[in-house]
Amino acid sequence: MIAVFILLGILVVVALWFLATYNGLVRLRNQVKNAWSQIDVQLKRRHDLIPNLIETVKGYAAHERGTFDAVTQARAAAMKAQGPAQAAQAEGLLGSALSKFFAIAENYPELKANQNFLALQEELASTENKISFARQFYNDQVQGFNTRIEQVPTNIVASVGGFKSAEFFQVEAPAEREAPQVKF
């Protein structure tokens, strides 16, 4: 009789542990999803800031059509991108178009003193930072989640509950690493 009770006790403990671990994994997975949507929010913010920026600069540097067009096209491509891989590449290209754009702006002193332009520059620089922090946070969450799924007692719960490893978000566009070239 005692043996039956002990067995029952052990089963209850195991079941409770299973439940707690499962819930913990659910929480981690939701954190990963939430972190992903953060990146999305910041990317959209960047897209929204760009038309304003172009209008401000057009007043001072009207003949830099080439640069404006490059940025506008890159932005359109980034907004149409589907899925993380495409988005990562398109955003990388947009980032490099923007840095070329700001390099050109260095040549116009009245533009550099314009308050609107400075505010927009700060906003865009900050948005770039926020994108990279959101990416960083997302990757941290993914790392935590993946480590948890792979560790020994937890991986049993993970395979039973159908938790799969999440993907890291790496912007691979080599163009992003180029230094902007200013042509004279």
Partner: protein
């Protein structure tokens, strides 16, 4: 990161329990020394005092602390760069809601964070901080403060501070009361040995308990500062930012920020202890030089890298428990951010910009004159026009808007 927060919560609960135990023991001993059967009554009384103080600090504590430091709440338009930095760190730290941002008008650079839960947090910086730090350093300081919020330090330190305060209050009360009550009691009560023993116990506790409680409080406080530094390095991926900021904050002893002793421990660098080289057992913060050395010795940006640097600087004693290192992400160090054009223009310009934030807050109208001067007109200025002191042009003062 998550493991760190969980372990912090557990330790916080344990330490608050310990401190509360000290308080209750004191209450019991004091009451029992007066009359042996009154022991439990003293326990309940101590518990009551503690509960009231905790409620008071939880309910209104934040606002009182912010007001006592002279902090004014900022809107995004008043200081866009500061708001951006706070928002960036909010994203990096994973806080659920954007903290409120406050400004303290003082030339000494410093910052602090309050907030019982990450949902209701607030960060305050001084104008001196805005004027002296570049963007990376400002980011480091804000990351350190948000690290405190994310690690639930603000909640814990508030509770611990209240408990220590209650212990000191009770002990003080008893020791003073002894003088009046002592003579009479000894002759009137026939309780004999038990009462005398309890009196001795109560006396010993009344002397030791405040010291014990303070030691516990300061030890936790120092450890949490190290942990907040580690969190800041991980959030910013740039330990040099915080290191440089700490040097600037601590290196100006002449500009001591005069704040109440209750508020001082919550600042990035304790303003009342800023120039101390060594840390005594009674310091709320570790010595700044030590913190800077550890940050500069980090090989990466992860919590594990901070732990390694800490061990290197402290003869293999660590600051983290093994459980807290689990799941710590491998992280490299990023490059320094390019200086914004304004900051590159010089410290005087940066100081003026920091003052401009304050002017906007105070409802000043800022009128740019063609000669380059920015005329600042206080709210409630009588005439409707003002002449530029440099070139004499007359300007119409815009009507006060939203």
């Amino acid at each position: 990161m998550w493991d760190l927060i969980q372990s912090n919560k557990r330790k916080s609960a344990l330490l608050i329990a310990l401190l509360a135990l000290v308080l209750l023991a004191l209450g019991y001993a004091i009451a029992a020394s007066v009359s042996p059967s009154a022991g439990p009554l003293g326990l309940i009384a101590a518990l009551l005092v503690w509960t009231i103080m905790v409620f008071a600090s939880v309910a209104g504590g934040e606002q009182i602390l912010l007001a006592s430091a002279g902090a004014r709440e900022l809107k995004r338009e008043d200081a866009p760069q500061l708001f951006n930095v706070v928002e960036e760190m909010k994203i990096a730290s994973g806080l659920p809601a954007m903290p409120r941002v406050y400004l303290i008008d003082h030339p000494a650079p410093n910052a602090f964070a309050v907030g019982l839960t990450p949902q209701r947090a607030a960060v305050a910086v001084t104008t001196g901080l805005l004027a002296r730090l570049n963007r990376d350093e400002l980011q480091g300081v804000v990351a350190h403060e948000l690290g405190h919020i994310a690690n639930r330090d603000t909640l814990f330190m508030t509770l611990a501070g209240v408990t220590v305060g209650a212990v000191i209050l009770l002990a003080d009360f008893y020791l003073r009361g002894m003088r009046f009550v002592g003579r009479g009691r000894r002759s009137s009560k026939g309780g004999g040995q038990a009462v005398v023993i309890m009196m001795l116990v109560a006396l010993v506790l009344a002397i030791l308990a405040p010291i014990l409680a303070q030691l516990l409080y300061f030890a936790c406080s120092r450890r949490r500062e190290y942990l907040a530094d580690a969190s800041a390095a991980q959030f910013t991926r740039y330990p040099e930012g915080l290191a440089g900021a700490l040097e600037r904050i601590a290196g100006l002893p002449a500009n001591r920020l005069e704040v109440s002793r209750a508020l001082a421990p919550m600042f990035t660098v304790n303003p009342l202890e800023a120039s101390r080289v060594t840390s005594s057992v009674f310091s709320t913060h570790p010595p700044t030089a030590d913190r800077v050395r550890i940050l500069r010795g980090m090989a990466g940006s992860s919590i594990a890298a901070y732990e390694a640097a800490f061990r290197a600087a402290h003869g293999n004693r660590g600051v983290l428990r093994p459980g807290e290192l689990k799941g710590s992400a491998e992280a490299g160090i990023r490059a320094a951010a390019p200086g914004a054009p304004a900051a590159a223009a010089g410290p005087a310009r940066q100081m003026r910009e920091a003052q401009d934030v304050l002017h906007k807050l105070n409802g000043f109208a800022v009128i740019p004159c063609a000669c380059g001067l920015k005329i600042k007109v206080p709210a409630g200025f009588g005439p409707s026009t003002v002449t530029c002191p440099r070139c004499g042009t007359s300007h119409v003062i815009p009507a006060a808007g939203g």
